[in-house]
Symmetry: C2
Subunit: 414 residues, 2 copies
């Protein structure tokens, strides 16, 4: 289908989706979940084509594994849709309501964003996940997945569309751009007339490309150069497990720690403990001149290191002489994602909370908690690292907008 035709259909579909009842939406999500499971073979055949192509093209074995679908993974995908059906419907909530002196009654009502475009390069399960969240929040979705998973994505989208159609809901609530030509993606980013919001999910490069080329409002997600600052008043028994967790529990995620900042007063005592922990977890340490001597095996950090999201078993170390210096360093190098201070001093903690410019600022906890599920949102479309609209973990509410409904009795403006 031609891109413009596809966008036009999504725009038409949004008026239907926004007026579906909670019940209708939930039934559709459950039907889609069942359809995925009962069509598992079809999905796996399509997925085989993608996997074969990946292997032929020398795709990294880890990526091939992420790409591969099997009955268990399809069941997990279906389970995800069912979970979203259980979440409260954000649409229609009256978030504010007031009456003006002239008698006008103003209600602020939560409404869908409309048509949400999602550009991603991740595993094919994102196709089902992204549909579930955008749909439950009353939106039509236009998805553009990576070419590596195109056959899998087409199969998943077709099955979900058929499930919608079977319930009398317009299948155009979910559109997949099947053309993997890059020029089509660029064209998609300019479809302001049809698409209300664009959300890129994937590598820093993909996100950058969308921000640079899109004329549609974008929600930036994901890049995380996260720091742990161990203050002079830190409880070191808390510091070490938090650093190990934030750095090594899962290295390839945006809320993993990439840099340690340490107060000079405690470096002699703390850094050897840190060095031993990193050695045990096979983490390479890149240290500044002030800390290098206390970390056996560490190499010298360059300035570039402090700006890097390694997504690897590597951590940089920066020494400071005050919490303010730590804050300044973070505000210079971070990506607005998640930052943590380890301290027992409440005033220092509050200063850090107040002055660090990031979506999530922690005291005595791992940065790994920046996550829609860990926050109790029940779902997550991504972590916003921008300040407009939504910041931090984005659940269903973050996929909505609002409208003012004003009821009068003939009022005119004087």
């Amino acid at each position: 289908m031609e891109l413009k035709e596809l966008c036009t259909r999504a725009k038409t579909a949004k008026y239907d989706v926004q007026n579906l009842s909670t019940d209708e939406k939930n039934r559709a999500l459950l039907a889609a979940a069942d359809a995925l499971v009962s069509n598992a073979e079809r999905i796996i055949s399509a997925n085989d084509l993608d996997v074969k192509k990946g292997e032929e093209n020398g795709m990294h074995v880890g990526l091939v594994d992420r790409l591969r679908l099997n009955p268990q993974r399809i069941a997990a995908m279906a389970e995800g849709l069912k979970q979203v059906a259980l979440l409260p419907d954000p649409i229609g909530e009256v978030t504010d309501s007031f009456e003006r002196p002239n008698g006008l009654k103003i209600k602020k009502v939560r409404v869908p964003l409309g048509v949400i475009g999602i550009i991603y390069e991740s595993r094919p399960n994102v196709t089902a996940d992204a549909f579930a969240l955008t749909f439950k929040a009353g939106n039509a979705a236009i998805l553009k997945g990576g070419s590596d998973a195109i056959n899998s994505n087409i199969a998943i989208a077709d099955i979900i569309r058929d499930a919608l159609g079977g319930l009398g809901i317009t299948p155009d609530a979910l559109q997949l751009i099947e053309d993997t030509d890059r020029a089509v993606t660029t064209q998609f980013m300019k479809m302001n007339e049809y698409v209300d919001v664009l959300i890129p999910r994937g590598s820093a490069g993909l996100i950058r490309a969308v921000v640079d080329n899109s004329t549609i409002p974008v929600i930036e997600t994901g890049t995380g150069n996260c720091h742990i600052y161990v203050d002079k008043d830190a409880d070191l028994d808390k510091a070490i497990p938090i650093i190990i967790n934030a750095k090594t529990q899962r290295i390839g995620v945006c809320n993993a720690a990439e840099s340690l900042i340490v107060h000079g007063d405690i470096k002699e005592k703390f850094l050897p403990l840190f060095a031993a922990a990193m050695k045990e977890h096979k983490v390479e340490v890149r240290a500044d001149d002030e800390s290098l001597g206390f970390i056996p095996g560490a190499v010298s950090a360059t300035k570039e290191d402090f700006g890097k999201e390694y997504l690897d078993y590597i951590i940089s170390v920066k020494t400071v002489n005050s919490v303010d210096e730590a804050i300044e360093h973070i505000n210079r190098y971070n990506t607005g994602h998640s930052e943590s201070i380890i301290t027992e001093d409440k005033e220092t903690a509050q200063r850090f909370l107040d002055r660090v410019d990031a979506a999530c600022v922690y005291v005595n906890a791992s940065t790994r908690f920046t996550d829609g599920f860990e926050f109790g949102f029940g779902a997550e479309i991504g972590i916003s690292t921008q300040k407009l609209h939504a910041r931090g973990p984005m659940g269903l509410k973050e996929l909505t907008s609002y409208k003012y409904e004003i009821t009068g009795d003939g009022q005119i403006r004087e």
Copy 2:
């Protein structure tokens, strides 16, 4: 000053501004107000240069009048700053707060957006207004005004900056881009590293240029192709004054009505009344074939008419046979601003409220009420016509973001 240097200074200043107390901000606003009044002569001399240049270049007499400053207008500008000082400070408000099963305490706190860029082409008083609102909401501002008012803008900004400096507040909280070269403006729109949000204020052309060229998140403001739909169950005694008010009370504003939609069942009765009212107010009517015969003096509407924001004594007329047809027409041609239905039927009214896609949807009231002051926000930076972040009138709260502050006791993720 070079653009990059100016942006760097604003980024540094934002950390100071965001930590100012309410009292410090209010004192600064009052000091700036006083400084404008006591430096009125300096402002007027600078303004004389702009006015002279405008007249030499054959600027329309109406525009010259908008550009011209005098002691009364400067007093009004100062009064605006004082009003903003009286408004409640949105910063620091805890908008949500919850504890997770693992003991993490999560607070959602209102914080400034950071650095707000505003590109405008309006009267020089916007320089003071825009500063007041962004500053009260804890942000640093970078302003880019029109070249027509450059001398006035420089004088106003300098005076405000001096007033800030006099109180020990960084003058860099307000930056004015003095270089009126268009290339500098385009470069400014790509300064993502320094600027958090860009707000264009002005003509549809200016807004389009910012949306097309900016890589910084943009809040679109202002274009308003607003409709009044007179339903078959309308009280015509309400309809006529509302249409006159929405169309003629001020023609050059975004919340003025540009199009009438009328239900076919009442056209014979209603349109002659409408025609008489429009004639009395010297409004040209451009009518569709179904309505043309009932409006003496009307000309034929083209399709282009329905998409036009006239900002003039012109109104188009479209006939429909149902509320759904009216909704469909509006959702096709409107700009997401303000739409009104005139009806005594509650179900029809609710359907219109539910299904019209616009920031503000009215029942039995004039679209002219879409305004920060009329909504009781006490101030307004513009009317957002997009769905991301803010929709409709934007006051102080809409110039803020939020951050999650998470306090733990050594929690790590399992």
